[in-house]
Symmetry: C3
Subunit: 208 residues, 3 copies
């Protein structure tokens, strides 16, 4: 069954695409912020607004799921994909909140690198989501998933290096704790991208 | 198929209700403790006993699952729901253990607030579990799940605020570490309530 | 349907067994290292090589999954089991990396104990995986899963005790942070063994 034959009202894919777009937008806004750190940047408010809009889209998917008889793939996978996509933008906002609460005065090259990996991962998720509808592109979607898995390994390694640097010399323990926390939440966001890739692979695998 | 038509011996719902009751009881005992902290409180022993009884119920569900041909919903969802409900009381006991091992001498308003959110979330789970059997109450169960998701957001925010306060001024790093850990485990318990809500939503979604 | 009747080319079980073997090998190498700590040990390189080989096996499972029409159990469970088995060896390597980056000069009795629990858990997983193919051994596989759950509880308790000791007296906060991190990743690996046991139980439960 080609998904394109599904009735117009089954706009699940449009909504997943909107979620993927919000994630990309939130991460790119955050990436610009960490590349040019400013604790009074309007980026904080922009990310808060993206998170709010993304939340509305997620609830639209849940509502549609409860009102639809026919769904493009298993109901539980739709629910899981929507919930996991929503986690990314939530996480980005949570990192911003903590950086403000911890009164972080500057960025670090390690943060810039970790956020760059997150940016690549959310770009790959966006591409996978946009091609998911077209069954002929299954191989390509799978390649994006493999790429996300590779990025997650890169992220793990970057986090290990960043942690190692934090402990070098005679650091201030409070500073170490704050930064360890920030790096951890970024790395956890990259992990969540891998969860999404796993869910997409499950959908592909069931369809095969 | 109405669940009420299921044979008497299919007591899965009674067992889920018992698990939800143990969670509510453990959290309310812990809530009373953090509102009136006493490192020698009999609450520690009470929570240990609740955890032990909850464990027996969980294994009763697993056993029944392995002996039943007919189950009220998908076998894997029964397993997951039982396992996730068991996590809450385990977590509460783990927080208690750590607070004693860390020789915590007092409670904090932030801990009181986080535990209050956990209390509301376990109350909502209990209500969702008690109404899950009745298909006519699906809408109400879904509303409890939405409420649990809302509480999880509130918990995230409360944890961010609590972390921010820990780092204010010139704190003792060891104290910061102990409390960060305690707040994290409470917040993780609220996250686990959201996992349970997601599993319940999956069960509803498959049934729809 | 007996799995032994499946065509020869369905070598999924052989590949799962290889993954379980890599996990056991990585953990036993790490166990020998923490029992006789040496920051220049060839064990680090050995674990890196095991991780690399395990990775190839995991991707072989994913590839086979995408090329097979008939699978010994649900496609999504094959994917999840392969992905979770891969997590263990990844985690062991991550602990090694951090111990080197943190310039850890010695081991501790608590680390020895936690790694011993992880060793028992990966042994039990190996046995469960080797018996999974034979439907007549379902009861025995379930017993291994129960044993893994018990080990996870033991691991939680050992971690709580280890954390308590870290905070005793007037410790150096930086040392506490490093060791807390190391203990946490070992305990997280034991948790991942429980995830694998849950996935195996799901496979058994669907088959029952």
């Amino acid at each position: 069954m080609a998904f394109s034959l599904l009735p117009k009202e089954e706009k699940f894919f449009k909504l997943f695409e909107a979620q993927a777009d919000y994630n990309v937008k939130a991460v790119k806004t955050f990436k610009a912020l960490v590349n040019d750190w400013n604790p009074k940047s309007p980026a904080f408010e922009a990310i808060r607004e993206i998170e709010h809009e993304a939340d509305i889209t997620t609830h639209e998917i849940y509502d549609k799921l409860n009102r639809s008889f026919i769904t493009p793939f298993d109901r539980e996978d739709i629910h899981q994909l929507a919930s996991e996509l929503d986690d990314i933008v939530d996480n980005v906002q949570s990192i911003c909140n903590r950086m403000r609460l911890y009164q972080i005065a500057h960025s670090t090259p390690d943060l810039v690198q970790l956020v760059d990996i997150l940016d690549q991962a959310t770009d790959a998720i966006r591409k996978a989501i946009f091609d998911l509808q077209d069954q002929d592109k299954a191989r390509r979607v799978l390649d994006y998933c493999i790429e996300i898995n590779r990025l997650e390994n890169t992220g793990d390694h970057a986090r290990d290096i960043a942690f190692g640097k934090l402990f070098e010399g005679r650091p201030d323990p409070i500073e170490v704790m704050k930064w360890k926390e920030i790096y951890e939440v970024v790395e956890d966001s990259i992990d969540k991208c891998e969860d999404i890739a796993n869910t997409i692979e499950t959908i592909l695998v069931k369809r095969a």
